[in-house]
Amino acid sequence: MTSPLATILGSLAGTPRTLPELSRSLGSSPQALEGMLQTLYAGGYVQEAVQNQGDCSCSGCSLKSMCRNFGDETPEFHLLRLTERGEKYLNRIAPQPVP
């Protein structure tokens, strides 16, 4: 990863992901990613995909006993997605389309 922040933004484009998912697909430790996500969060590039509303949690889901995400330790960020600013940034560094 020569540009880790851009790679994270790329991984979040179109698909909101959780920290463990990012960690798995990028092959970086969650600890290392957490700081980067905090930077992107502070810069307004990512936001929580689902606003935490108390009742929106795994506890109400009938499939939680089968779910891989339930019960894992993801205290800070749940589901992250790009903000408009993040999308714009990503579009800027994207390769030129073939005319």
């Binding site: 990863m1 020569t2 851009a6 790679t7 790329g10 991984s11 979040l12 484009a13 179109g14 698909t15 697909s25 990028l26 092959g27 990503l90 560094i93 994207a94 390769p95 030129q96 389309p97 073939v98 005319p99």
Partner: protein, 85 residues
């Protein structure tokens, strides 16, 4: 830069070859997903191997491994890394 002589589509590379991404077809069905994974201009991509039945193709992009079908590689223009083939 597009149309440079050394530019080829990604499906023409053999296992072991490496190249830099030059362009991505605007109508590529996976355009978005490929951007997500870091198919950005200048990114280095390496062909690792073909699957047992010849397709899909195992690629390494930076430090990420992924697989694409040869048909989907056609829309990606790359420039071979010097001495990389």
């Amino acid at each position: 830069m597009i149309g440079f002589m050394g530019d080829v589509t990604l499906d023409t590379l053999k296992p072991g070859a490496a190249a830099h991404v030059v362009a991505l077809d605007a109508r590529h069905p996976l355009r978005r997903r490929l951007l997500e994974l870091g198919f950005i201009r200048g990114a280095r991509v390496e062909v690792m191997r073909f699957a047992p039945l010849g397709d899909p193709v195992h690629l390494r992009l930076g430090r990420t491994d992924l697989a694409l079908r040869a048909a989907d590689l056609h829309g990606v223009t790359v420039r071979a890394v010097q001495g990389g083939v």
